[in-house]
Symmetry: D2
Subunit: 120 residues, 4 copies
């Protein structure tokens, strides 16, 4: 599972999908940032009334499991579309950000705490 992710294939799939529908005209970075927020909230909606413990069980129900996968996919699609439009290399962006996070949240300082970095 998730042993591989062919980002070039997936990005081309998304790009071609938009081009075939002449949807590029709607896909400004501003609009894509909106669509990304909308899809993130559709994922949020699945979890809104669940107890935390119940949220671990969502994949056991066939219908909910499909909904979770579909909404995760929708978020990923717009995130990858934005990376494509703005020429962001996703792996580098993540690695760079995780490094900054490591400096903001040194493990010996923050262990077991959920405070924000500016509260330390």
């Amino acid at each position: 599972m998730n042993k591989s992710f062919d980002i070039e294939k997936v990005m081309n799939l998304i790009k071609t999908f938009a081009e075939k529908r002449d949807w590029d005209q709607f896909h400004s970075p501003k609009n894509i940032s909106m669509a990304l927020a909308v899809e993130s909230s559709e994922l949020l909606e699945i979890f809104q009334w669940l107890k935390e413990e119940q949220s671990w069980e969502v994949m056991k129900d066939e219908k909910t499991s499909v909904a979770v996968k579909d909404e995760i996919a929708d978020v990923a699609v717009y995130l990858l579309r934005l990376c494509d439009l703005l020429s962001v290399d996703l792996e580098s962006a993540i690695v760079d950000k995780m490094k900054k996070n490591g400096e903001k949240y040194p493990s010996e300082l923050v262990r077991g705490s959920s405070k924000k970095y500016d509260e330390y």
Copy 2:
């Protein structure tokens, strides 16, 4: 650019980061769906007052460019974290969803229109 994405490496990086800080206790799927929505909105915030045309220029300003990459990374981190927690294979999820989208939005029907599928 984005020729490759080592999803296994990145997922391990994220997982280890949380483990070293004993943050697994906070990372229920419910809470991660909240963090994902929060980070998506931080990306949205960058674009909120920009004209669509201006949104194409965000990478030309050094400070904004870093902010865009950081927020894209934050969204990706929580999305991948959720995939890990719920054992979702991201590439399959995207490919499956794009296939459904293709059926919901046949290109000959929707060309150049931004209506929702239930408006056709």
Copy 3:
């Protein structure tokens, strides 16, 4: 508490604030809908790592209490701004929507369940 709410006074306060700063140019309904989503997520952020039980205690901590009030205010400001820009009467909109909700979710049918209306 909340015995009264002078909506006309508050709307004028918000409108004048924007005018004095020449911010009307940024306040299209589209942009305000983005700002509203951003502020809603800042409220969400306060609760993201809290247990449900802990979320009842947020007003007991002085700093968190102020943050909650500030973020609730920010959401309200953009919501009222949008009502002003689009000439929406908020009380009527709420009363009308609650009536529809009552029809979508008849109390005898949905009692104690958090399912969505299309799942019944």
Copy 4:
């Protein structure tokens, strides 16, 4: 329009609605903050593919106009619900926050600019 807003009546309407359905059990502040974010994004969705100029015209189309009013109402309902649960006086919260905003964004300094306060 919006000459008055009977907050006590509306809050009672919302509270009674939840009680009759035995939904209080789902309405922790944490969960309501999620529902609020979800509804804000449903409002956002209406505007996501529109040009800014088009976003001024949404009330001219009957179906879209109803959708806008319904989504604004949904956001307001959860915002007022949260005020009720956490005993927040909405008018005071707004007036206090607008005062802080006035200090963060002095009109002579920020006129015509959409920068964030920490960029000045």
